[in-house]
C-alpha cells in the first residue's frame, strides 16, 4: 500500500512523529503514526509502531486490524489470519471480520473457506449483500466469481486501510481548524467504507465545529443508525438540538443516551437540566440524584439539586446539599450566601 503523500499528509506525518516522541505511551498516537508510515510505504517501521500500540493496549482492535492488513499486503497470510481469528473469538458475529477472512482466504487460494466467510458476513450484516452485488460476486442468491470480480474483491482489503488513513487526516485537519478539507477527507473515508459508524460520527463532529447543525444531525443520525449502541451519538444529537434551542428533540435524544449509558453521571446531569428547563422538577431531581449516586463529588449536580430544593421551599434538603458543597469547595461564596439566606 502506498498513498501519494502530498504536502499536507507529509506535514501531518511530521507532526504526529513529534507527538509520538513527546507521548510515546499513547497507543492511539502509535497507531496513527504507524498508519501514516504504512501509507508512505515504510512497512517495517509501521509494523513496529502497530506492535507498540498493541503492547500499550492489547485490546486495541483498530491497531490489530491495521497490522493484519499490513501482513496481508506482504502476503503473510498465516499471521494475518491469526489476528482476524483472535478478533472473531471476541465477537463471532462480527461481519467485517468475516468479510476480511473471506478475502484473506481467497487471496490464500482457499476458495471454499473464503465463500463460507463471505456468506457469514452477509448473514450478520445485509450491507455486505449489497456490497458483493456491486462487486459482481453476489448473483442469484449465491456467491459466484469470475476472474475479474475475484480480482476486484481481492483488492478490497485495502479499502479499510485507505479509509482509516483518510479518516485520520480528516480528524487532524479538523483539529487544525481546516474544516472544509477535513470534510473532504472524511467523505473519502466514507466512500471506501460506508458502513463505518465512526466515520459518520467524525463527520458529524466536524460539521458541529463548523456550526452546520443540519448536516451534523444528518451525520450523527447515520452513525447511530449503523451502530444503535453508539450512546454518545445520541448525546451529541441532543447537544446539537440544544444549540438550535430545540429542546424537545434534545430531551428525546438525551433520554436515549442515558438509556444506552446509564453509568455516565454527566448524561444524567444534562437530562436533569432538560427536565428542569421544562419545569419537570421531580424528574430533574431524580436524574441529579442518579448522577450523584454515580459520582458523589459531582459538584454541579449538587448545586443544581440544592437550588431546585430551594425553589421548591424544601429548606432542609437544600441546606443539606449546600453544606455538602461547602465541604468540597469551602471558598464558594455564592453557595455560602445561599446557605446563610435559607438558614436565617
Amino acid at each position: 500500500m502506498r498513498i501519494k503523500m502530498n504536502s499536507i499528509y507529509r506535514r501531518i506525518l511530521r507532526e504526529i512523529e513529534k507527538e509520538v516522541e513527546v507521548h510515546p505511551n499513547y497507543a492511539d498516537l502509535q497507531n496513527q503514526y504507524a498508519l501514516l508510515l504504512m501509507a508512505d510505504g515504510r512497512m517495517e517501521e509501521a509494523k513496529a509502531h502497530f506492535l507498540e500500540a498493541l503492547h500499550l493496549n492489547p485490546k486495541y482492535r483498530e491497531a490489530n486490524l491495521n497490522l493484519c492488513f499490513l501482513y496481508m499486503e506482504e502476503g503473510r497470510w498465516a499471521e494475518a489470519k491469526e489476528i482476524l481469528l483472535s478478533e472473531l473469538r471476541r465477537d463471532s458475529k462480527d461481519s467485517f471480520i468475516h468479510h476480511a477472512l473471506g478475502i484473506l482466504s481467497l487471496q490464500d487460494g482457499k476458495r471454499k473457506e473464503g465463500i463460507v466467510h463471505l456468506q457469514e458476513a452477509i448473514r450478520h450484516n445485509s450491507y455486505y449483500r449489497e456490497f458483493y452485488k456491486r462487486k459482481g460476486i453476489w448473483q442469484g442468491g449465491t456467491i459466484q466469481f469470475n476472474q475479474k470480480s475475484l480480482g476486484i474483491l481481492k483488492k478490497t482489503h485495502l479499502n479499510y486501510h485507505y479509509a482509516q488513513f483518510h479518516n485520520l487526516i480528516g480528524l487532524f485537519l479538523a483539529k487544525s481548524g481546516r474544516s472544509r478539507q477535513a470534510v473532504a477527507e472524511l467523505k473519502r473515508a466514507l466512500k471506501l467504507k460506508p458502513d463505518e459508524f465512526i466515520f459518520y460520527a467524525n463527520l458529524g463532529t466536524v460539521y458541529y465545529y463548523q456550526g452546520d447543525y443540519p448536516k451534523a444531525i444528518q451525520s450523527f443520525e447515520k452513525a447511530v443508525h449503523l451502530d444503535p449502541s453508539y450512546g454518545m451519538g445520541y448525546a451529541n444529537l441532543s447537544f446539537i438540538y440544544g444549540l438550535m434551542s430545540r429542546t424537545k428533540e434534545a430531551l428525546q435524544y438525551m433520554k436515549k443516551a442515558v438509556q444506552m449509558n446509564p453509568n455516565y453521571a454527566d448524561l444524567h446531569y444534562n437530562l436533569a437540566l432538560l427536565y428542569s428547563d421544562r419545569k419537570r422538577y421531580e424528574r430533574a431531581i431524580l436524574e441529579l440524584k442518579k448522577a450523584l449516586r454515580i459520582n458523589p463529588n459531582y459538584l454541579f449536580a449538587r448545586i443544581n439539586l440544592g437550588v431546585l430544593y430551594e425553589d421548591q421551599k424544601k429548606w432542609r434538603e437544600a441546606r443539606r446539599e449546600y453544606q455538602k458543597i461547602l465541604q468540597i469547595t469551602p471558598e464558594d461564596e455564592s453557595i455560602r450566601k445561599r446557605l446563610e439566606r435559607i438558614s436565617s
Binding site: 507532526e15 507527538e19 513527546v22 507521548h23 483539529k175 458541529y208 465545529y209 447537544f239 446539537i240 440544544g242 444549540l243 434551542s245 429542546t247 434534545a250 446531569y269 444534562n270 437540566l273 432538560l274 428542569s276 428547563d277 459538584l299 454541579f300 449536580a301 448545586i303 443544581n304 437550588v307 469547595t329 471558598e331 464558594d332 455564592s334
Partner: protein
C-alpha cells in the same frame, strides 16, 4: 425570561471543544444562567512547543478569550471559575 440552562450548557460544550483547551480536564455546569467551570486549565497536547513564559502567556490569552466567549452567551448571568492552576486577582488572570 431566563434562557434554558441546557441550551447554555450546549453552547459552552461547543466553545470548549473548538478551543485549544484540554477539555478533558475541565468540568462545567449551569445553574439558572450561572456557569461554573472547575478543574485544571491547560492547552491541548498539540500546543506543547515554546518557552514556559510563552506557554503561560498563551494560556492566559486563551483563558481571557474563553471567559469573554462564555460571558457573551445569551442568558449567562455570571461565570464562576474554580480552577486549580489559575485565579483571578484584581480582574487579571494569574497562574497559581
Amino acid at each position: 425570561m431566563l434562557r434554558e440552562d441546557f441550551v447554555i450548557q450546549s453552547e459552552i460544550r461547543r466553545i470548549l471543544v473548538r478551543s485549544n483547551v484540554d477539555y478533558s480536564k475541565i468540568s462545567f455546569g449551569t445553574v439558572k444562567g450561572v456557569v461554573y467551570l472547575r478543574g485544571t486549565f491547560e492547552l491541548s497536547r498539540l500546543y506543547v512547543n515554546g518557552s514556559s513564559e510563552g506557554i503561560i502567556e498563551f494560556t492566559k490569552k486563551n483563558l481571557v478569550s474563553l471567559e469573554k466567549k462564555i460571558r457573551s452567551i445569551p442568558g449567562v448571568i455570571d461565570v464562576n471559575f474554580q480552577l486549580v492552576n489559575w485565579k483571578k486577582e484584581k480582574g487579571q488572570w494569574v497562574s497559581k
